[in-house]
Symmetry: C2
Subunit: 339 residues, 2 copies
């Protein structure tokens, strides 16, 4: 029993059954729809309230839509889904809790800040690999207006944004995983350790999360024996321009050159020059919609065959920041391959 341990190295699990991502769905707000990846999303909403009376309710409705959309795209029914793994940025992950309320699916709530897409995808893949389930959904969401109100200031204040600030993506992504079929497969999961290098500026999340991304990437390469050039694309979640630059430089010091195939979802989802998004996109929804929309559609066309997704999260709260705490970061990597 002991010899079949699937963990290799310090932080990585090798998935023997190669769970497959059999469908996805991505729903985004108008601004994301106007961005460079707009055509890749399954649905672009024109009203970011979705007719609800609060942004929080709109965010929850987006997640519900993404989950139902992914189930529909898999040509299965809600009752076929064994488990739902979901999380979001709102206090007590209410977007997920209220979305789950309208679904008759056993629910595990997660919180990994903006790392939640790769956290939920990790869990879903492991549940398939462990034969705990036949179909599992992984989902996450964020909303610019609910995040601004909760983490920064209500929009009505009209506060000026720092140049290092990022723009929370309005969007939700969902995936269905299973063992069967010819689809992109999850092959390795490298789980992050919390890293804190003392960054205290809540307007510079990229800098706070970069050390976690670097640590997870470094350990992924060490544990698997792979080098960066194995992948067609290595994509961090939402480090933005500044965090991306730091990550590239730090990994170079460790001897890993990512300059050829490294992108950051937050850096590519908006045209930062014309869309006024400062250092780039952020939020749980950022890597979720880029993965479920842009990357998944390109994987299915085999334009990408080997992808390493590393969603990145900053584990602070407004309370911890007010209490003088620095910002711990975490990053989870998931290798997705389709030959």
């Amino acid at each position: 029993m002991e010899n079949d341990l699937k963990k290799i190295g310090n932080q990585t699990i090798k998935l023997n059954s190669n769970p497959k991502i059999i469908s996805t769905y991505s729903i985004v707000g108008p601004k994301e729809g106007q961005g460079p990846l707009g055509e890749y999303f399954h649905e672009v909403i024109s009203d970011d309230t979705l007719g609800k009376d609060s942004f929080e309710k709109a965010e929850s409705e987006m997640m519900y839509t993404a989950i139902k959309g992914a189930i529909n795209n898999a040509n299965i029914k809600e009752e076929d889904i064994d488990y739902l793994f979901a999380g979001d940025l709102l206090n007590q992950i209410t977007s997920s809790g209220y979305a789950a309320r309208d679904l008759n699916i056993p629910f595990f709530g997660l919180y990994g800040a903006c790392s939640t897409m790769s956290e939920s995808l990790s869990m879903a893949a492991l549940f398939i690999d462990g034969s705990f389930a036949k179909y599992v959904v992984a989902s996450t969401s964020s909303h610019f207006s609910s995040a601004e109100r909760q983490f920064r200031f209500p929009l009505e204040y009209g506060s000026q944004r720092a140049p290092t600030a990022q723009w929370t993506v309005t969007g939700s992504g969902a995936m269905v995983l299973s063992k069967e079929g010819d689809f992109p497969m999850v092959t390795y999961i490298t789980t992050g350790i919390v890293k804190d290098y003392g960054e205290k500026d809540a307007n510079n999340m990229g800098a706070a999360m970069a050390p976690a991304a670097v640590d997870t990437l470094y350990n992924h390469f060490k544990d698997t024996g792979r080098t960066p050039d194995y992948y067609d694309i290595i994509a961090t979640g939402d480090l933005g321009k500044i965090g991306k630059k730091m990550t590239l430089e730090m990994l170079k010091e460790y001897g890993y050159d990512l300059s050829k195939n490294y992108v950051d979802c937050g850096d590519i989802i908006f045209d930062n020059e014309t869309q006024n998004t400062c250092s780039g996109g952020s939020g749980c929804g950022c890597s979720a919609v880029v993965m479920c929309g842009y990357f998944y559609k390109r994987l299915m066309k085999k334009e990408i065959k080997k992808l390493l997704l590393i969603s990145t999260g900053a584990l602070m709260s407004p309370t911890s920041t007010l209490q003088g705490e620095s910002i711990p970061g975490i990053a989870h990597a998931v290798a997705i391959e389709y030959e």
Copy 2:
């Protein structure tokens, strides 16, 4: 590959390898130490700030202490632990995030409100069963003063408490799970579906969570074919006096009589008459410390041989309550047996 599915029925997984809870640690505040279960906890603190300058930092320190204590009680080292599953009630689960920052262990953050102990225990057991890890830690915490400030009013206001209100437990519990040794085993996991019967009173969480507890218990019995009398003890997390009464009555309508072996952790942790705790204890830490302290020590002595733990969570936030939303509940059941 498909025939080895470990899921039985709608919501339950049968664990073939019977993961073992090889050690626990429980740390509680002074009030919990003075309660009826005081002698069963591993550590009772005399100062609930633990010398920290905020209750939030004290809560995080409690969780760190519980995790280190459980690792120590297992006679292993921090570097032996493959994964940490933890969550708590604070916004962005900062108690867990900051505790994890000081540990060099891959970390999965969870949020299930007060159901988080059985959620983290479920995950830990499944990671062992799936051969994803050799040693996994599950933990959760809550703190009366950080919870009051966040969910109700700062203590300084001196607000009056409703008779249906519950008293958030100050405490943290942690467990180490592995495959080896002669210890209490996790045999079945029944994962909850979110239930919302329209309760809107945030001072009556027991009523909001009872339907979820009933649903999970009902499905556990249906999925496993067991009846309530199979267990020596069936323990809900923190329904308190009112929610416990509702649960007993509703299950009776479904044909299940729990009157002989049913307790609620929130109901037994305090002497509600003399300790002024209204409807009983609550919080993530409630079922955590009762499980890691009282139940685990009695399991090890074989005074209890078959235990069903169902931690119960209310998935609202102060924001959702202000926006007029009702309170969804969730409950996760874990069967623990030791012959």
